[in-house]
Subunit: 231 residues, 2 copies
C-alpha cells in the first residue's frame, strides 16, 4: 500500500525540487514559470510542469458542476482537492522521487485563498490539503489590483460566471464582481505570505527583473539538491 | 451565499429528522432502513431516502477511477467526500429544512472506517467531513463476521476489486482479502461506536427483533420534533 501522507508542514525528503507559483490571474506568474522552465532546461535539468485543476479524473465533473451552477463552496473545494490529490500522486510525487524539478502553476494556496473567499472555513481547507508535499520554493507574484485587472481584461470579450466570482453575489455586474472577488483573494494571499513564508515578487516590475529574482532564489537549490540532469 | 458550515459535532436545528444506518455489507442495515421507511410512510410522514456514493456529479469519476485502478486512498476518500457534499446540499439539507425525515443508508462513518482501513489518516478524514449534519439517530448494525460473509457471498459469482479491498494488498485471494478487509472495517466501526455514540443493533437477531428496536428508538423523536406529515 502506498503511504498516502506527505505533509504540507514538513519538508519533503525526495531528491527532486518542488517550485510553485501563486498569484491572481494577470500577475504574470505563468510567464515567469515558463521562463524559469526554459532556463532550467537549457541547463539540462529534467523539468516537469503541472497546472492547477488539470487532472483528467475530475475535469468532467467540474465542467458539469459549473454548467449547472449547482456547486456549493464546499463541493467546489472538494472537487479541486480531488484533482490535486490525483495530480500529486501521478504528476508531482513520481517526478520528485525521480529527482526531477517540478514546476507547479498554482498550488494549494490557490485553494486557501479562493475557497476561503467563497466562504469555506479557513482551517478546514488547510487541513484538507495537509497531505500535500511542502514546496521547496513558493513564489507569490503580487501586482497592484489595477495592473492585474488591465492585463486580464485586455482583449477579453466576457468573464465566465465562476471566474468573475458571480456565485458570491457581490455584484450583478460581472466586471465589478470580478474586481471585488480578486481584491478579496489578494487579501487572503497576503495572509498566506506570512503564514507559509511565500516569497513575494513585485509583479509591477519588468519581466526581466522578476525572472532575475526568481532565478537567484532557485540557484542555491540547484547546488545542494541531487537533482537529475539529462545525460 | 449559502452558509457552508453545518457541523458534525453539534446538533442541527432543522425541523426535520436525520436517521442514518451504518454497518458492513450483509449486516442487514438496508433491509432495516427500508422497513423503517415503510413504517414511517404508513404514518403519513414525508420520508426522503439517500444512499452513500450515489451523487450523479461524481458517479462518472468514481467509475473511471475504479476502472483504471489509479485511485490512491486520499483521492478515493476525496471523491467520496465530494459526493457526500453534493448530496448533503441537494438531498439532505433541503428535506431537513422542509421538516422531512431523511433516511441515509451509510453516512460519514462509512468513510471514517473504510478510508482509515485504506491507510488514510484518522483525524484528517474526520476533519474532512466536519461540514456534515450531525444525525439525530445513528444505528450501527453489527453481525458476526461469519454471518455477514455468508450473507454477502450467497449467490454472488465474484467480488469486485475495490469491494474485496484488493487495493490494500492483504491477500491475492479475493475472498481472503475481502474477509480481512471487512474484519478491519468492523474494528474501526467499534471505535466509532464509542466516539460518536452510534446505537448498536445486534444483527444476528431476527429481522423483526431488530426492526422493533429501531422503531422504539425512533418513536421519541416523532413526538418531540415538528416533522411534516402529509395532509
Amino acid at each position: 500500500m502506498s503511504k498516502p501522507f506527505t505533509n504540507l508542514k514538513t519538508n519533503h525528503d525526495f531528491p527532486g525540487l518542488l517550485i510553485i507559483c501563486e498569484g491572481i490571474d494577470g500577475s504574470g506568474k505563468s510567464t515567469q514559470l515558463h521562463l524559469l522552465k526554459t532556463w532550467l532546461q537549457q541547463q539540462e535539468y529534467d523539468v516537469f510542469f503541472t497546472e492547477w485543476n488539470s487532472s483528467q479524473l475530475v475535469k468532467k465533473t467540474t465542467k458539469i458542476g459549473k454548467k449547472k451552477k449547482l456547486l456549493t463552496p464546499t463541493t467546489f473545494s472538494l472537487i479541486h482537492a480531488t484533482d490535486f490529490a490525483d495530480r500529486l500522486e501521478h504528476a508531482i510525487i513520481p517526478p520528485l522521487k525521480a529527482g526531477m524539478i517540478v514546476l507547479a502553476d498554482r498550488y494549494v494556496f490557490t485553494a486557501f485563498s479562493r475557497d476561503t473567499v467563497r466562504g469555506v472555513n479557513r482551517e478546514w481547507v488547510r487541513n484538507l490539503y495537509n497531505f500535500a508535499v511542502r514546496p521547496d520554493l513558493a513564489f507569490y507574484f503580487r501586482p497592484t489590483l489595477e495592473t492585474a485587472l488591465e492585463r486580464i481584461l485586455l482583449g477579453r470579450s466576457e468573464l465566465k460566471y465562476y471566474e468573475a466570482g458571480m456565485d458570491l453575489g457581490l455584484s450583478h455586474d460581472p466586471l465589478e464582481s470580478f474586481r471585488l472577488f480578486q481584491e478579496r483573494i489578494m487579501k487572503e494571499y497576503d495572509l498566506l505570505v506570512e503564514e507559509w513564508g511565500l516569497q513575494v515578487i513585485d509583479s509591477n516590475k519588468t519581466i526581466e527583473e522578476m525572472q532575475s529574482e526568481v532565478r537567484e532564489s532557485v540557484k542555491p537549490f540547484l547546488k545542494t539538491r541531487p537533482i537529475r540532469r539529462s545525460e
